[in-house]
Symmetry: C4
Subunit: 333 residues, 4 copies
């Protein structure tokens, strides 16, 4: 390891093991979730059903509800069918089994949703009990669905877009890692904090070890995120990636783990969003271009969300290779 | 720029760009929202439907529900009409198309709300399936409406009124900017914090730039907001508006961005409210008059909310124009 | 004012005005609410309907729902009655107006609750439209009620009982003000913080002024409130009530404003409870007796909530009247 | 008491009394609840019905709903039966009392769930009023159930598993107490904090007293809990259990009270979980083995939850019995 980096304390409280050899390729997925599987407990104990239903895509959620509705309907239709459709008063005299089953199915759906037209009505003990249970089941299911729909809407989210790329840009008289964020909904974040950790996969004594370093930012907190915020990590003496060449970035397979935490006005709640950047998403020698401008009318500002990654190529200031530390790093890496 | 203000650090972490030229006229609207439009993403991705429905006025929300209810009813009425009203058992023998459509509409509403009287009932596969789907749609819609109504009521709000004006008042042996707040509902705020930032539009080298300065307050935090709270920013040497004349305020088009954050007992939650003051709302030489008094019965205190802006004209202490700093500012401005 | 108290800074950030003369008798009610009325805005703008419904007693809330249900039923019954009960198909041929009205009322309730038996069913445009609207109204009302019932249950509360009395007890080699709290439900508070402020009504230059002082506590924070917690304010040199005699307490009409804030496991939320003590609730020369003991079985601890105020009389250590400060206070008071 | 421990301050702000003699056997149960009963208030005032229903097992909760549904149904069935089933229009002419009661019961359930087929319908004032009330009761009950189901799902929980055992392991050049935690659901905790307090039951002057000491941890906070976290309390000079032999642990009947607090992404809320360890759960001379490894495919990490307690026996470094402090402790204990 470089003498330079020895000065910097790596951290072990990242939630990941310090020993790289036991870990998979990417630590944190692009969506901020951990690249991890859990075993040793039955599936239903390892999963939070509620939160899975809360986080799934709307189309899948709708499909889930349709499936649930149809399944329960079919289940009770089978019950009514086997008790005997003659107990469903009001049915016309047709006796084709498929037709009878469909009538049982429709009676079931009228009971489950408590619409209960009554042109078909239960008679006899067994059918009445089944219908009584089904209407209770219906109410419980829709209590659940009400809770899920509310939960899906009310789930606090930060609605942040991250620039797909992370840039190595000129910064003051040196260079800096930069990425850019903005909120893409009509929400407003205040007291926005960023925590960025880098994972470096380093060869030490012939073995590869993963070291985690917290990255200092030019500003780690802003009062308000109205327009965009470019997060800047200066690649100076205090950076574990000081004087890194493109090859250094690649060799050490850097991964930036990013967590943004803020207070959101909409939800009156803390919201959090995470992501990560790997070497493949790093552009060496580029800088972001503005993504907002004054409206032609002069009455307001326009923030162009499709420009979050807009950048141009630039020449970086020379790396001062006269530094022993850097030399020593490349010698070791 | 004045030598005085050079000492003060302006801030860039306000969420607004430091470069004024790219921004619109007012940074923050009177209701605390940012004067900003977002582009570059489709409308439905830029908007949080849930929060838009949560924040709209009650009358508009009621109208939205009525519209939704009627639209879905009409949609399914069209379906029943085209399947054929002969499948709606129980309808009398009239065949005027408009009458038939109305019957289909009423059957639809009885299905959507799950009231299901049953004097009109579905028969045949197609009508039964449509009715089965409509009753599910009804339950989903009203699950949504239940969530929205709860969300609207439960949305944490600070219920703060701000004095419409900001005053330049005498304060100790100098002057101060003052505005006043109170809660107007039967709520109680504790741990109330205020953050006030000023935006000054300054001419520097012939160009106009916007500089942001945090404003120090006499008290930036109170334990409890039971009566009223007058927020005081002393216009002393540490203020970026030290010795400002009315013309200075106007020329630099000051905008005060105000954020109040507190813990609310009702919601057991953090609440936040923002607003802004521009030069047009500044009164030079006035002071607030009390807005509360002891009840005639002596048993309690009365807080008069209509007096939140009550003030009287006063003569301000002389600006000490012997200060080089101030001179230099006016020379530059 | 005593020379002693001059050293202590009184505070103005209590949410109450520093000037006593404009205030009512008691600043904070026993239930922690502020003894305050607001005027200057219409009633409905000054009140948070939702929170009023959330905080009212269960019996009153139930009565409110019954009243709402009956009122809406009667309203729509009147509508159906005036459209004409002949449009309510299925009614038997009786024509006594009262009977007809009752039938309209029951049809109304069947529509409002969406039970819709259908033995009475709407016919004709006007009645159908009214029924269609009423079933929507029903769904909206019960969406509201669902939200209210959930809100009432889910409203975070601290469930703290305070000892009705505040004691002046012996403490170390001096005396202390003490009161005692415990949680009375099966809830568990952690990170419990207390903030106690005293309001002293002092005669200064012939006028009565109210001064507020924060009171230091032996422990102002406990990690966990499992059993009981006796809050102790030592009446030492740093107390604004140093060497107070019973007459001093009475003359200065002390009022202790108490706020307890904690994290509650049940709600996973911050909860807060406030109360106040006045001179009438002070007992001079008493100490609390234990309110918990080991169960006879030895397997657990028993906390006796009815003993929260259990105390015995004790003789207090002499007030050292040789102190100039105290002398000077009584001379002034 | 040992001279060593005299240096360490014990704490009284643990929520438990400092005087052991009034307390039961275990202070905190394994599930983190306090081993405590409250008396002196009626049962219904001591219990939070809502939270009891929120925290009970799913099967018991389902049983509670079934019981409630059946009870209310039977109650109203009795009412209809005594008013007279001739007022339930549509019933066939059978008059066996049991059959009549069952019909009343089914009518009741159709009213309570608002399914209201209408093949049986109320007639007469009394039956209509009863039905009108029952349908309101039905709506209120299911509003309650909707709230409870939502509340049960949305209740923030940490989903942490603790290693069943606490180990005395080698650590650096001394020994340490260690236990291990992980999250067992697809949730992600950030800003995870641990507070560990030990209760020592010590003989002092012939009496047993309970002393509480906060335990310092190698890391008391981690940024993120992605894999597992081994909590380490070094048994060094600053530990109240410095140089404890197995017999010392047993004699002082140690109990570790553990509280973990974190921010959870799923709930966007603070979550908390508590537990305790007693001497019976302590293993003297063992160390944890890794519970995660790289997947064979190399693409992710696998966390094996069934290995949370996996450990192997190890020989501990010698206790340096030459220390006067330790000697003195064992002499006293």
């Amino acid at each position: 390891m470089s003498t330079h980096r020895k000065r910097l304390n790596d951290v072990i409280n990242t939630g990941f093991g310090a020993n790289s050899s036991v870990e998979g390729s990417r630590l944190t997925n692009k969506d901020g979730s951990t690249n991890l599987r859990k075993t040793g407990l039955p599936f239903w104990e390892r999963i939070s059903v509620y939160h899975t239903l809360l986080r799934m895509k709307s189309t899948r959620f709708l499909f889930f509800i349709l499936l649930l509705y149809t399944s329960v309907n079919i289940l009770f239709a089978i019950v009514y069918y086997f008790i005997g459709v003659q107990n469903l008063v009001g049915m016309d005299g047709i006796h084709a089994p498929m037709h009878e089953f469909m009538e049982a199915f429709f009676f079931s759906s009228q009971t489950l949703t408590t619409v209960g037209y009554g042109h078909i009505a239960p008679s006899g003990m067994a059918t009445n009990i089944a219908a009584s249970i089904e209407s209770l089941v219906g109410i419980l299911i829709f209590a659940l669905v009400t809770g899920l729909i509310y939960g899906r809407f009310a789930r606090p989210r930060a609605y942040i877009i991250f620039s797909p790329n992370i840039l190595v840009s000129p910064f003051k008289d040196t260079r800096a890692l930069m990425f850019r964020i903005a909120t893409y909904k009509n929400n407003h974040l205040t007291d926005v904090e960023a925590v960025v950790t880098v994972a470096l996969h380093l060869k030490e004594n012939g073995k590869t070890a993963t070291r985690f370093y917290p990255l200092h930012l030019e500003y780690a907190k802003v009062n308000s995120l109205a327009l965009s915020w470019t997060l800047v990590h200066p690649l100076d003496e205090n950076s574990p990636m000081y004087n890194f060449t493109p090859k250094d970035f690649e060799d050490s397979k850097i991964e930036l783990i990013v967590a943004i935490k803020a207070f959101d006005d909409h939800f009156s709640n803390i919201v959090q969003q995470r992501t990560s950047y790997t070497y493949n998403e790093l552009i060496y020698g580029a800088r972001f271009l503005p993504m907002f401008h004054r409206a032609a009318s002069g009455t307001h500002t326009i923030l162009e969300l499709d420009k979050v990654n807009l950048h141009e190529d630039v020449v970086l200031p020379e790396i001062r290779t006269d530094l022993a530390e850097s030399e020593s790093f490349r010698a070791n890496a």
